[in-house]
């Protein structure tokens, strides 16, 4: 009845139709199976009535009606499918992807457990949270970040040489944190505790780009990863706070105060595990959940621009010099970090080929106003640098950061301007930012390794 060639062609058409159905998020593979069986039933009947395979297929598809309508009806029953669900192991239907995500899950659990154990191992050597808090402050990132790096390196199938570099850098971090004779409350101690996490995070970045560390695209991916990781981590921290509060108050109600459990076990172990879990979530969810960092950036870029412009206007109108107190420089450093973050995460979500638009101009305004404010601050400081500033590690570090961020933002502003005037491609801006990551790394390591001896461990 049917020529074998016609049958083959029919199968190809079924396959094509199936792919078409599967593109609808409302329709899952099982639905496609069921509908395909329906379509085949319909085709069989038409074939039996004497139609050619081609005709039968066309008529059967036509009878089924529009796929739009069909998916709408399915969506009414399965509205949950319109929400991208969090699944621990992606149920994609393909066995290869399933094993892959299950292996990821186990690797993540292993690394998270490793991080938890690392936090508690020093207790065995008599270092308690209460008496040696500075040890934990200095070393906390050394407990958790190597495990995150290990997870990422495992996922990327990092080469031996890369793994050796990672191990060496973490060892160097451990030396920097512990080898110098720093007093508990010394400034160098504080500076190290702030800069070591930055240095180590960029080592994690090395693990992240392990498969292709020269690629600028991969570095941009790491910037995206950082933003999403941070958001997941903050969300988990909020959840952890709620959990601790309930635990504390419910147990208190029956006369047990679980303070020690919470502060010595739950919080440190939970934080260490969350570092790894957040990394895994970003990896597992990158294709499923819309990135949140760029969304926040879009919301806050206009607001920050307005706030900074208002501040500039106020400074000019009142002709009141900026009062550069001890904390002021750090405050303005943070301001530059926020502006840089807003810039970076808009860049990360932007289509590099899109022509310059209104949002790019807004960003230029943001960066320029931040620069203007920072220049005012720096002018204020240089006036006093000989007598007051530059003499302590704190101030040297804050000043150094300010200069690094200023250079970055100034050149970014220039690139943005030329981009808006269509002189340079957008990629130049991306290349500048991704290349600059190395500068942050170098600076963080300098502060951690060179500053303590340079300032004779004060």
């Amino acid at each position: 009845m049917t020529a074998p060639g016609g049958q083959e062609e029919l199968e190809a058409q079924f396959e094509q139709w199936r792919q078409y159905v599967l593109r609808r998020r409302e329709l899952q593979p099982f639905d496609a199976d069921e509908l395909e069986d329906h379509l085949r039933g319909s085709v069989d009947e038409l074939l039996a009535a004497g139609l050619s395979p081609d005709e039968a297929f066309l008529v059967a598809v036509k009878r089924m009606g529009s796929l739009d309508e069909l998916s709408r009806e399915f969506a009414r029953e399965h509205s949950e499918r319109l929400w991208k669900q969090l699944v621990l192991t992606a149920d994609t239907g393909s066995p290869v992807a399933d094993t892959r995500s299950r292996r990821d899950l186990w690797a993540m659990l292993t690394c998270a457990a490793g991080a938890v154990v690392s936090v508690k191992v020093p207790v065995l050597f008599g270092l308690s949270f209460a008496d040696d808090s500075s040890f934990y402050v200095r070393n906390f990132t050394l407990f958790a970040l190597p495990w995150l790096a290990a997870f990422l390196a495992w996922r990327r199938n990092a080469r031996r040489s890369v793994i050796a570099i990672l191990v060496a850098l973490f060892a160097l971090g451990a030396v920097a944190a512990n080898a110098y004779p720093l007093a508990d409350k010394s400034q160098s101690m504080v500076v190290t505790s702030i800069h070591l996490p930055i240095a180590l995070w960029l080592v994690v970045g090395l693990a992240y780009v392990a498969d292709d560390w020269r690629s600028l695209r991969r570095r941009m991916d790491f910037i995206r990863f950082t933003g999403e990781w941070f958001i997941y981590f903050v969300l988990m921290a909020l959840g952890g706070g709620v959990l601790s509060a309930f635990l504390f108050n419910t147990f208190k109600a029956i006369g047990i105060v679980p303070q020690e459990f919470i502060s010595h076990w739950l919080l440190p172990c939970g934080a260490a595990a969350a570092v790894v879990v957040a990394g895994w979530l970003v990896e597992a969810k990158q294709s499923v959940v819309e990135n949140i960092a760029p969304v926040l950036t879009r919301l806050f870029t206009p607001l920050f621009t307005a706030a900074l412009l208002a501040f500039l206007v106020a400074v000019v109108a009142t002709s009141h010099g900026i009062d550069v107190e001890r904390e002021a420089l750090i405050l303005f450093d943070l301001l530059l970090v926020v502006v840089l973050g807003l810039l970076l995460y808009s860049l990360s979500a932007r289509d590099p080929l899109a022509p310059p638009g209104a949002f790019d101009k807004l960003q230029l305004a943001l960066v320029v106003s931040a620069l203007a404010i920072d220049v005012l601050v720096l002018l204020e400081i240089t006036g006093r640098i000989t007598d007051e500033y530059g003499s302590t590690p704190n101030r040297a570090a804050a000043l150094g950061e300010n200069v690094i961020l200023l250079v970055n933002l100034a050149w970014s502003a220039w690139l943005l301007l030329t981009f808006i005037r269509r002189r340079t491609p957008f990629a130049a801006l991306e290349r500048w930012q991704t290349g600059y990551l190395a500068v942050y790394a170098a600076w963080a390591w300098i502060v951690v390794l060179v500053f303590p001896p340079l300032f004779s461990y004060v």
Partner: protein
């Protein structure tokens, strides 16, 4: 004459439960059966049938199982449960009430368009 969409939708559940009470079946066969029962007057679409079957399954009125037919082809069969039978009995009571009431009203009366003089 085609039956109005609202009426099709309202009668869909008892119809499907009734067909499944005759024995387990699958989507295409259910649609064929409905066509046959109504002489083609009930306009059912796949968009009505499959989501309805899934809802009945979620509510526990039917259970489904994948069975293989000829070669690699899989087919999803639906099978009515006791809960489904109870639901069908309940819906049947309601439909009987509606149908009885309508019959009562329309008792002996011929539609007015045929013979307006009697009204």
């Amino acid at each position: 004459m085609k039956v109005a969409k609202d009426l099709v939708a309202a009668s869909a559940t008892p119809m499907v439960l009734g067909i499944l009470a005759e024995g387990e079946s699958y989507g295409y066969a259910i649609l064929r059966r409905i066509n046959e029962l109504s002489g083609g007057e009930l306009d059912w679409t796949e968009g009505l049938l499959y989501p309805l079957l899934h809802r009945l399954e979620r509510l526990g009125y039917v259970v489904s199982s994948w069975q293989s037919v000829t070669g690699e082809r899989k087919r999803k069969y639906y099978h009515i449960t006791d809960k489904g039978l109870a639901e069908m009995a309940e819906q049947r009571r309601q439909w009987d009430t509606v149908v009885d009431a309508l019959k009562e009203i329309w008792h002996d009366r011929v539609p007015p368009t045929v013979n307006p003089g009697l009204a």
